[in-house]
């Protein structure tokens, strides 16, 4: 079973091979990266089958000791159990689809090789994260993913927006990561180890459990873009669309949810942490959904939608069902990456991300529109597409826990979701055509989308099987909740159709703006989060930096310059001494040697016979000297 190690290792090797090469050589080796992720996909399916039929603990585990602190050993290890097996298949299926799709999407880029290298490193880190059997290894993979996210958002770093977005994403998630590091410190102090088995079976008191759980929740909020740390994800859309599909829709942003699922016993031991998680999820799901309603950039709509759906996963966690959260994570990974890949084709065809300049794409892009329909219906929660089943499971959990207020908010969020999905769909695909010359994407882009669309359409039927595999129960939806959620979804779609979809209603944003000036202003400014952060956090930081810069210029530079001036005059004195005395001595010795040489060289006559005479004379003198001395 040690071949499981190869699953994260193959893409990592692809990175190691690609990264040091030149731009041209990297571009030639792109198939290697694709082959690596396809290899991981094959091995992941093998790993899944090895765990099948699941319902039990780990089937394989391996670890290495990396350090000893006192008498405690720090180990890093990988473990294969049902949850990691499911995550492996999700990550590798989406990763393989994205890499194949990128062959078509990115083929005009000079730096396609670098793109594939980072994508491979990311895939390796995500696979290591889901396989890790301890919090320390999880954290390491988590940080590598943050780096890859930064690199891919800033892929087009010649432009200002991606550059700033990459810095914003990195710093915002880093704020969350601080929570993770503190949580690790508390975990180690309390349980004395990092591996899940020890930490999760530790006898947690409510107080420390709350502390650890809240710190981890903070980390998860940063990574999974939950209010109020969500601000980076919409900006992250400045990166390449397939990278957004993989990182900012399917996998990395779900890592936060995954962390909470892993640490769930600690959250359960706390209780309060669960309530906070629930409300973070509720607020995020609703507010991000409302923001998605007013965006014109198709990728931003999907970004806010992702935030909202991640909110749903936090709702499930907060309601006490990590299984429902994981279920929604899996279905969401498939349908949201599908939507992003579809958006990529649309952006390629329409040469714009602004939905107001699109329209009538359904006829021009038949395959894309069908695949997009599958993803949209899943996101809206229409039976039998995958989102329906997992969202329904979350709503059912809320009802079962008697969280009626939360249920109402979640239902409203579902309604809003259906509305913005309908808005997106009708604007892009059925509204009056704005452009004539539109082309369907390349086959390498369509095939991954079709694969994801089929998965999205059928995976819902395997919910209970998935539950058995995980060792928990995922029941078929009860008729009551299913009916309520379907009514909400259909209501949202109908309203969306009424506003944006009818032939007669050419959408007039201006009219909406005038009718609801305050609400529109709040939404258009994204609840002023960016402004607030910009003013207080970034502004405060800038003021501090300016004060420090002044101090630096006056005091530090003064000292440095003074020292430099003193040193300079000292060295001028040294220069004089050197020129007069040291050089004088050296030159004097040299000229004395030269004069002596001029005298001695006349001994060299060049005449052979004079040398012979000299030698003979010297020998005679030598003999005479020996005779005299001997006597």
């Amino acid at each position: 079973m040690d071949w499981v190690t190869l699953i994260p290792l193959l893409p990592a090797l692809a990175f190691v091979v690609l990264a040091p090469l030149s731009r041209a050589a990297r571009a030639k080796l792109v198939p290697l990266a694709v082959a690596a992720v396809l290899g991981s996909l094959g091995l992941s399916i093998a790993a899944f089958l090895a765990v099948w039929p699941g319902g039990h603990g780990e089937v394989w585990q391996a670890s290495v000791t990396i350090a000893h602190i006192g008498d405690r050993a720090i180990t890093l290890g990988l473990a294969l159990e049902p949850m990691s097996a499911i995550m492996l298949t999700v990550v590798t299926v989406v990763g393989a689809c994205v890499q194949v799709y990128s062959l078509g999407y990115m083929h005009r880029e000079d730096r396609i090789g670098w793109y594939y290298a980072v994508l491979s490193l990311f895939t390796a880190a995500m696979l290591a994260l889901v396989l890790s059997d301890n919090f320390l290894g999880l954290f390491m993979a988590w940080e590598v993913m943050g780096l890859c996210s930064y690199l891919l958002i800033g892929f087009w770093h010649e432009q200002e927006a991606p550059r700033l977005a990459s810095i914003k994403a990195f710093l915002t998630t880093k704020v969350g990561d601080l929570g993770f590091m503190l949580a690790l410190a508390v975990v180690y102090a309390e349980a004395g180890a990092f591996d899940f088995a020890t930490v999760l079976h530790h006898d947690w008191t409510a107080g420390t459990a709350t502390l650890v759980a809240l710190l981890m929740l903070f980390a998860a909020m940063g990574k999974s873009a939950q209010f109020p740390l969500h601000v980076w994800l919409p900006d992250a859309m400045a990166g390449p669309t397939p990278a957004s599909a993989l990182i900012h829709a399917a996998t990395m942003v779900a890592a936060g949810v995954f962390l909470v699922v892993r640490a769930f016993p600690i959250f359960e031991a706390s209780g309060i942490a669960l309530t906070i998680t629930l409300w973070v999820g509720l607020i995020t799901a609703l507010l991000a959904g409302l923001l998605a309603m007013v965006q014109h950039d198709i990728k931003k709509v999907l970004a806010y939608s992702t935030i909202s759906q991640l909110g749903f996963m936090f709702i499930a966690l907060g309601a006490g069902s990590s299984t429902a959260a994981l279920y929604h994570l899996v279905t969401h990974a498939y349908f949201k990456s599908l939507l992003f890949l579809g958006a990529g084709v649309i952006i390629h065809a329409a040469h714009t991300q602004d939905m107001r300049q699109m329209g009538g794409l359904a006829k021009k892009l038949p395959v894309t529109s069908l695949a997009f329909a599958s993803g949209s219906l899943a996101l809206a929660g229409i039976v039998p597409f995958s989102g329906f089943w997992s969202k329904d499971e979350i709503l059912a959990v809320l009802l079962h826990e008697h969280q009626y207020v939360a249920f109402a908010i979640a239902l409203l969020a579902a309604f809003v979701t259906a509305f913005y999905v309908a808005r997106l769909w009708f604007r892009v695909f059925t509204a009056p055509t704005q452009q004539e010359d539109l082309h369907e994407g390349h086959r390498s882009m369509l095939v991954p989308m079709v694969v994801l669309a089929v998965i999205t359409a059928v995976i819902g039927f395997f919910g209970p099987t998935l539950g058995d595999f995980l060792g928990h129960e995922i029941p078929w939806p009860a008729l009551g909740t299913a009916a309520i959620s379907t009514v909400a979804a259909l209501g949202g779609i109908t309203l969306g159709w009424y506003v944006y979809g009818r032939r007669t209603s050419v959408v007039n944003t201006q009219a909406l703006k005038q009718r609801f000036p305050h609400a529109y202003g709040v939404l258009a400014n994204k609840y002023y989060f960016d402004l607030t952060y910009g003013y207080f956090v970034v502004g405060g930081y800038t003021t501090l930096a300016r004060a420090l810069a002044t101090f630096d210029a006056r005091v530090v530079d003064g000292v440095v310059n003074g020292v430099a001036a003193a040193w300079r005059s000292l060295s001028a004195a040294g220069w004089t001494f050197d020129g007069r005395i040291v050089d004088g001595a050296v030159n004097g010795a040299a000229s004395a040697v030269r004069a002596a040489g001029d005298k001695v060289r006349t001994l060299q006559t060049g005449s052979v016979r004079s040398y012979q005479t000299l030698i003979a004379g010297a020998v005679v003198l030598l003999v005479v000297w020996i005779l005299v001395k001997g006597a």
Partner: protein, 103 residues
Amino acid sequence: MTVGLPHVLTLAALLFGIGLYGALSRKNAVHVMMSLELMANAVNLNLVGFSRFVTPEAMTGQFFAVFSMVVSAAEIGLGLALVIAIYRRKRSVELDAVQELKG
């Protein structure tokens, strides 16, 4: 009259003197080398003579003479090669023609 060490040494001294005179007085490089050979063989004669009359049981001097002959054969080969090389350049074997090393 039996031949003793003084006879040998006298002969060697004569040979050496002739060789030295030739080496210093001749201009022709081949003559100079012949004279040098005379001097070398005078020394060899000394070695053999001392060996024969002073330590007859140890053959050191005799072996040394043979050794010295081998070395001077090699040396004369090298010297003649140099003389030919000089002749090719200068069309002359006169020692006075070679003055390049004058300081």
